[in-house]
């Protein structure tokens, strides 16, 4: 590995950190447009962050060290995850450290910490949110793993850059029915994992239906800022995983110059714009599921992903 690769590694990571709020802002804007509301500006999330970082933190009297540690851990897992997902280039030294399985593991670590922190204060909403989050997590996590395994089967590697290169370097166009299933399952997992409709609503504090918001109710100021940022990063990461698995075109391969990398960043932006708009459209069109239906939704995602794997094994494509 040369030094340039490390430079790209760090800059890709920083790019993800910087772009994630923008992406969230874009989705929010699209949603507002589609729902005939006047939209907040694109950089609203940055403003939120600035405001939160400047405030005094209010901590519950009996909050323990775990409660204060969790935002940092959650944020860091998302940053490290961003570092191993090839969003701009596949020349990532860190991607060898942790492959797709470890990526799912990192997401799980983040989830466990945020759930534990939610239980720490001991309020009714906190533990309710933690329980619901873990319920969604224990189905979404294997579903995501199965999606990644479908990709593994077609490309023969659990390292994400290798998957991307495998897809990009094929001489012929090869269609994979298994990825078709995996794609549907992935979208379902993305919605559930990022607290989106129809599983959760990111824009509500409607007390009895919330999941993600219930867990971070007790947080304020810088801790809340980190958690919000982490959740935007998570959405960004999921979008980038989706791009890498299903529409990798544009991502720069090993050892290419600055020109192609600029192109790759441009491609990423275009994909993000489209994906954000699609996400907003989907959210606007769908109604929130009853909470009891959420496990069913996720079980379906999981089984679809397993079916993708099965279809690959059966059809060999």
């Amino acid at each position: 590995m040369n030094a340039i690769a490390y430079v790209w590694q760090v800059s890709e990571c920083l790019l993800a950190i910087a772009l994630a709020p923008l992406f969230a802002g874009w989705v929010g804007q699209c949603r507002a447009w589609l729902q005939n509301r006047s939209a907040p500006p694109l950089w609203q999330p940055y403003r939120v962050l600035r405001k939160l970082f400047h405030k005094d933190a209010a901590l519950a009297t009996h909050a323990s060290w775990l409660f204060r540690l969790a935002p940092y851990v959650v944020f860091s897992t998302m940053v490290v995850a961003a570092a191993i997902i090839p969003s701009v280039t596949t020349d990532l030294p860190l991607a060898r450290v942790a492959d797709a399985i470890a990526l799912v593991g990192l997401f799980a670590t983040g989830r466990v910490f945020i759930a534990l922190a939610a239980m720490d204060i001991g309020t009714a909403f906190g533990s309710m949110g933690a329980r619901r989050e873990m319920m969604i997590g224990f189905l979404a996590e294997p579903a995501l793993l199965m999606v990644l395994f479908s990709a593994f089967m077609t490309h023969g590697s659990t390292a994400l850059p290798e998957m991307v290169e495998g897809l990009l370097s094929q001489p012929h166009i090869v269609l994979h029915p298994s990825l078709f299933f995996a794609g549907v399952a992935f979208v379902m997992v993305l919605l559930a994992e990022n607290a989106r409709l129809p599983v959760d609503n990111p824009a509500t504090h409607l007390e009895l239906t919330m999941i993600h918001e219930a867990m971070i109710l007790e947080y304020s100021a810088r801790h809340l800022a980190l958690l919000e940022w982490a959740s935007w990063l998570k959405l960004f990461n999921y979008a980038c995983i989706g791009f890498a698995l299903f529409v990798p075109w544009g991502i720069a391969l090993h050892g290419v110059g600055v020109g192609l990398l600029t192109l790759a960043i441009a491609a990423l932006l275009v994909k993000l714009v489209v994906a954000g708009a699609a996400l907003a459209l989907f959210e606007t069109l769908s109604a929130k599921l009853r909470l009891f239906r959420a496990p069913e939704f996720l079980t379906m995602a999981f089984l679809l992903a397993v079916l993708g794997l099965l279809v690959y094994l059966l059809l060999g494509a």
Partner: protein, 673 residues
Amino acid sequence: MNVVSALTTTTPLTALLVLVSAWLLIGALGLIQPNRIGWVARTLFPLGALIALGMAGMGAMSLTTGFVAQSSALALGLPDMPFHVRLDALSGFFLLLLGSAGAGISVFAAGYFRQGEGTAPGLLCLQYHVFLASMAMVVLADDAYLFMVAWETMALSSYFLVVTQHRIPEIRRAGFLYLLMAHVGALGILLSFGVLQGGSWQMTFDAMRAAHLTPAWASAAFALALFGFGAKAGLVPLHVWLPEAHPAAPSPVSAMMSGLMLKVGVYGLLRVSWDLLHAGPWWWGLLTLGLGLGTALYGAIFAAVQTDMKRLLAYSSIENIGLIFAGIGLALLCRSFDMRLLAALALAAALIHAFNHAFFKSLLFLVTGSVMHATGERSLGKLGGLIRYMPWVAALALIGSLAIAGLPPLNGFVSEWLLLQAFLQTPRIPHAFLNMIVPLGVALVALTAALAGYVMVKFYGVIFLGQPREQALGKAHDAGWLERLGLSWLALGCVLIGVFPQVALDVVGRITLQLVGTTVQRGPSPWWMTPITSSQTSYSGLWLWVGLLLVIGATFVLVRRVYHGRVRRTPPWDCGYPWQTPRMQDSSEGFGQPIRHLFGPVFRMQRELPKPSDSKPNYRVLVQEHLWHQLYLPLARLVQRTAERVTILQGGRLSTYLLYSFMTLILLLVWVL
């Protein structure tokens, strides 16, 4: 002969035997002053821990390159049947496991045992060390005779440990169930050895290795061994004793049973199926794999709905044993198709998981011990908020919980990663149906791992986080220094294997070399794992740690640097509701509710729901296993009824009994004619 030359000439095997006898000696010394805690707990148990460390060292020595298996016949046993012992890589590995995890448990036990817990401490010390010694002897045994003697000693000593508090009827009942299952299992093992000797009537393992069995007999031997060792390890549906016996025992004993004794069962199956038997048909592997995966999922689901912290851990043990058996099954399957590399990978995953489980499960069982001593409670519904009163235990328990949930960068993730990688290679199995079915096992493994995360959030969250559910919890105190030392040792093991997974892979590589004939591909350095090829898969625990810690540190520094760190303490907000009480938190039943809802038909539930008119509403739910009512109780009734039929023979008159003897004699004489 002076000491130095004695040390240079002794082989690891002799040293091990000396260590085992030292354990027995320590046990016996406990009887000198059985009620003096200072003598028994503070002196003898730490000594036992030192011996355990020595044993781990000897085990590790046998795993170095260039070590040749050693065996010898002892001057013990029956006149014509001396005990044979043997030390090879497989037994060395399990001694390493036994010693290293056992050392931590013994140190903890030194601080844990106190007066007034049923059995006198001195007697407990004897049982405890006999238990340890017998486990070591099972692993060292090289003939069926010694194996069975050690096996039964292990079962009996652990039985006495389980019924330490023999004044409580439930504990006596649990102990009886344990003893019963242990004997049914032992019967299977005995029969298996009977088949394995293959007509030579030689009980040494050497003779069994050389014996040529017909495929049918080999399968019978395998099935019996799977039954016997499965019963000891807790394979569904033979697991029923486990959630009864583990909670009944004192915590260090639970830790030993779950962390170590179950592994001895795993060892037995490995010894029989890989060493004594030769490659068999593929259904051996498929059967073990299926049972393992089923056990894993079953254990995880039931762990999620438990309300007693030790029962929860017991079910979690069942889950982990399932994963280990799945690895072994996959390896057996691959062996029957002569896919050596894949077999080595699956076996390595199973062995590392066994090792990991010994550490994190012992750690968590010991944590429950500390919690019970501090609070006197073991029901999850009466705990909570202990992180503020027991910071040490809470921090170490967090490591154990994260490790057992299979989260990177700790050790649980390493073995699960290896197992998943092994499953991902299975589409290459050259069998038209298996290459379709077996890869789907990966879904079950993933589901189990995710459920384990759920279980551990429940375990940790309900015990250590939130507000104390009872007033008395405010008086809880942290564990003593010996207990902390024991816990730290085990937690350190969890972290180290997570950081240097390749070291663990190298160690089990010696075993796969012995059993399969090959090892997985070596990583370029101790902190890189590349079991298949470096382009396909790689994982580095160390660099992941470094990356995570760097980012956490950088974030912390940046947040502190750029913005002020002022903190205001306020009452919790909770959407502006000021009348919060601890009872409004999720109870353990509440936290398990989604699982009960989702897997409803799996459970046998009895629910008492409050009526709308109740002024003091009471909700109660009892979750049981269907197996108990649909398999075991009918079986027990059948045995009872058969026994009642047989009692007709038992007339009570002496002359009738003499008549039986006389008739038998006549019949035999006629037969001889």
